[in-house]
Symmetry: C2
Subunit: 198 residues, 2 copies
C-alpha cells in the first residue's frame, strides 16, 4: 500500500491558517491532522485525544527521554510537543499527515526528517495581514504591531520552506495545498515500484 507523507503547515498569526486547514480537512477524509501533546490542563470543552493529548509533566519528560517527539517546546511554563507515534501510524495506513506547527518546531522536524514537506501560508501583502489582525478585534494596536514585526522576522526564515501558499482566498489556498500534496506523491522515490521494473 502507498505510504502517506507528512506536510508541515506554518504561517503568521492572522493569516487565516486555521480556516484554510479546516476547509481542507472538511473535504478530504484521507488526511490525518496531528494532535499535539501538552502538559497544560484541559480547558472547559476540550477532549483528550481530540484537542490535545493531555499528559502530566512526568509522562511528558519520559516521552522526551524516550525520543517520542518529532518536536517539542516550552511555552509559558507548559510543554507542547508532536508525538511521533500517531504520525507514523497514520502514514503507515496510507494517510497524509498535516502538522500545524510554528517555524521553530518545523526546523526541529526538518533536521530529523528532511523528507517532510514544509509549506508556509503567507498573506497577499503585509498591509492585508495588518488588516486581518485588526479586523479580529482581539488585539490592541500595540499588540498588532508586535505581531507584524514578529511575522516579518519569521519570514526571513520562511524562504527555506518548500512552498509558499498565498492565502488570497480560502478556495485558492486549499487548491494550492491539494496540488502540492498531489505533486509530492509524483516524486520518483514514491514510484519506485515502476522504476525498479516490475
Amino acid at each position: 500500500m502507498k505510504k502517506g507523507k507528512t506536510f508541515i503547515v506554518s504561517g503568521p498569526s492572522g493569516v487565516g491558517k486555521s480556516t484554510v486547514l479546516q476547509a481542507l480537512l472538511s473535504k478530504r477524509d484521507d488526511l490525518y491532522f496531528s494532535v499535539s501533546a501538552t502538559t497544560r490542563p484541559a480547558r472547559e470543552g476540550e477532549t483528550d485525544g481530540v484537542h490535545y493529548h493531555f499528559l502530566d509533566v512526568e509522562t511528558f519528560q519520559q516521552w522526551i527521554a524516550e525520543d517520542q517527539f518529532l518536536e517539542y517546546a516550552e511555552y509559558v511554563g507548559n510543554f507542547y510537543g508532536t508525538p511521533k507515534r500517531f504520525v507514523d501510524e497514520a502514514m503507515e495506513r496510507g494517510k497524509d499527515v498535516i502538522l500545524d506547527i510554528e517555524i521553530q518546531g518545523a526546523i526541529q522536524i526538518a533536521a530529523k526528517r528532511p523528507e517532510t514537506i514544509r509549506i508556509f501560508i503567507a498573506p497577499p501583502s503585509w498591509a492585508e495581514l495588518e488588516r486581518r489582525l485588526s479586523s479580529r478585534g482581539t488585539d490592541s494596536q500595540e499588540k498588532i504591531q508586535k505581531r507584524l514585526v514578529r511575522a516579518k522576522v519569521e519570514f526571513q526564515t520562511a524562504h527555506t520552506y518548500d512552498y509558499f501558499v498565498i492565502n488570497d482566498s480560502v478556495e485558492n489556498a486549499v487548491r494550492e495545498l491539494e496540488a502540492i500534496m498531489t505533486a509530492e506523491h509524483c516524486r520518483p522515490q514514491e514510484r519506485m515500484e515502476i522504476i525498479s521494473g516490475k
Copy 2:
C-alpha cells in the same frame, strides 16, 4: 506580471503521452506547447509554425552557431531542435511552456536551465506498456520487444526527473500534471515579492 515556467514532458513510445498532452492543452489556454524546428521537408497537411518550424539546413546550422536552440539532435539525416525564442516569449507573456522532448534533449536543457521542471510519463506497469504497443497494431512483435527494451534503458535515466506521472488513465495523468504545474508556482522563489516584504 507572473512569469511562466518551462515543463519538459518525456515518456516511452506507447505510453500515451500525446493523448495526455492533447487533453491537457484542450482544457488550458494559458499553456504554450513548444513547436520544434526541423530540416525535414514538410509532409502533406503539415503547416509551418504549427506542426514544425521548417528550416533549410543552412538556417538550422546558423541557429546552432547563434546558440538559438535549447536542445537539438540529428535523427536519420534531419535536424530537430527546440528554438529558445518562442519558449522565452511565451514565458514572458506569463504562459507555462510544455516541451514534448525525449530524454537526451531533456538532459541538454537541464544542463542549460536547471530550473526547468522535468516530468516523466510512465505506464502503470511494463506489461501494460507492452499491451498498449501491441494494441496499436503498427509494429511487429520484434519491434515491440525492441521498444520495450529501449523504454527500460531510458527508465534508468528517468529517476533523475523531478516527477513521475503514471498514465493509468488520461484524467488522472492530466490531474497530476496540473497539480505539478500549480505546485511549482508555489515555490518561494516564485513568490519573492511577498518575502521581500512589500
